[in-house]
Amino acid sequence: MLMALLKRDLLLAFRSRGDLLNPLMFFMMVASLFPLAVSPDPQFLGTIAAGVIWVGALLATLLSLDLMFKSDYEDGSLEQMLLMPQPAMLMVLVKVLVHWLVAGLPLAFIAPLLGLMLGLPNGGFMPLVLSLLLATPILSLLGAIGAGLTVGLRKGGMLMPLLILPLYIPVLIFASSSVQAGVQGSDYLGHMAFLGAYLALTLVVAPVAAAAALRISLAR
């Protein structure tokens, strides 16, 4: 049943490819606002590139989180999923996996392009991609909690950033400073270790919390 769910959700994502592009386009737009707003000086852009790209990635993820459970809630599939004879946290894990594949992973591929546009020094590219690969699953996992809590609410889209952004701060700190470390030519293994540990923690906590959140949201 979980495999079937995975297949179904990937198929659905593929059918609505247009929706998937929206966060990516948003990601690019946010990043290109900074040269316009602050300064196009390559020297200066290079120093803020890591932060800009990572802030953009956080916001783009927030934008796509609404899709995680919303349509399934509206057409009754979510009820059916909660009635599957497996713990709901497994279902949440499948949902998170699909969200990451369609919304998190593409960010890691497109980020080097933004790095070039923002004049990110050479040493920063490797940690940028690595940190995105390692930390976007965290964003999806924590996001699932927010999406689960707000799924039944009409104004949920406004509420979610408020609930989730504070939890994203450790990711932002370590991921963007890993890029800074790469730029300065120093070791960024410690940053990755932290991100890995945080990923492990959220992998344990988030599915349980998100499943509980979904049950609460559906128990009107």
């Binding site: 924590l142 909690i145 809590l149 707000t150 609410l153 104004k155 949920g156 509420l159 408020l162 609930l163 952004l165 504070p166 939890l167 701060i169 450790p170 700190i173 370590f174 400073s177 932290f194 945080y198 923690l201 906590v205 988030a206 919390a209 509980a212 959140a213 609460i216 949201s217 128990a219 009107r220």
Partner: protein, 258 residues
């Protein structure tokens, strides 16, 4: 033993019992808290020596640190109350969690304001991205999230449970957030006191701080109890014991007027 525990659990789940016991406790907490605060503040303001580096601005510590400590532990208390509510389906526990949120947020604001004011003479600007102030700001954001969820969900039971889940996740994240913010900003002064380590402050500076911390905790209890009693009154407004309570109270006030 087990049956006694069970009876205690049922008692604590009973709004009437909670209402009555906290009415009695509040007076004591109020008295003890006020004495502690008065002594602590007078001692701290007028009698404690000035810091040899920061001078007299250091006296802000006697409200900044209690407010910071209390707003952090209030968040944890809120999460624990939520957990108890979710696991044992104890309604009173949810109520306590709900009333802590605005109090904790107000203390976080107090901590931030006093921190900023303290920063002006110390660092020369009103706001510095110091590790502890930044963590406190994020804690305030976490409080905002919980309060926003109470406002967004109309159904009480759903709101309580959703806020409980959020505060539990938040409190699991607090150590991670604190660690990462401290790591991010290691340039600043370390925490003023740690409860486990021997204080590096002089005793005549440290004792009044302990007094105001304890005093703040007592007052916090009074605030939580008062708000909880309000919630109980409203929730139980159709029960006989509330009606009786109000009638008795009414008689008393008219008696006093005569």
């Amino acid at each position: 033993m087990w049956t006694r525990l069970k009876r205690l659990y049922h008692k604590m789940g009973s709004p009437k019992w909670f209402y009555e016991i906290t009415t009695r406790w509040s007076k004591w907490f109020m008295a003890v808290g006020s004495i502690l605060m008065l002594t602590g503040v007078v001692w701290g303001l007028a009698f404690a020596p000035a810091d040899y580096l920061q001078g007299n601005s250091f006296r802000i510590i006697y409200i900044h640190v209690p407010a910071s400590l209390l707003s952090q532990s209030a968040y944890i208390m809120m999460a624990v109350a939520g957990l108890v509510g979710l696991v044992w389906n104890m309604k009173m526990s949810f109520v306590v969690g709900k009333v802590i949120a605005p109090i904790g947020a107000s203390l976080a604001i107090l901590s931030l304001l006093t921190g900023a004011i303290w920063g002006k003479p110390t660092w020369g600007t009103w706001w510095v991205w110091d590790a502890r102030l930044t963590s406190m700001l994020i804690l305030l954001f976490l409080y905002f999230g919980v309060i926003a969820i109470y406002n967004a969900i109309e159904n009480d039971e759903m709101a309580n449970k959703a806020a409980a889940v959020l505060s539990i996740v938040g409190s699991i994240n607090i150590p991670v957030i604190k660690y990462s913010v401290e790591w991010w900003n290691t340039l600043h002064q370390s925490a003023t006191i740690t409860l486990t380590k021997k204080p590096t402050m002089a005793p005549e500076m440290f004792i009044p701080l302990m007094l105001t911390i304890l005093g703040f905790y007592c007052w916090f209890a009074v605030w939580v109890f008062a708000r909880t009693r309000n919630e109980i009154l409203f929730k139980e407004r159709k029960t006989n014991w509330v009606k009786k309570l109000l009638q008795n109270g009414h008689k008393k006030t008219t008696g006093a007027q005569l």
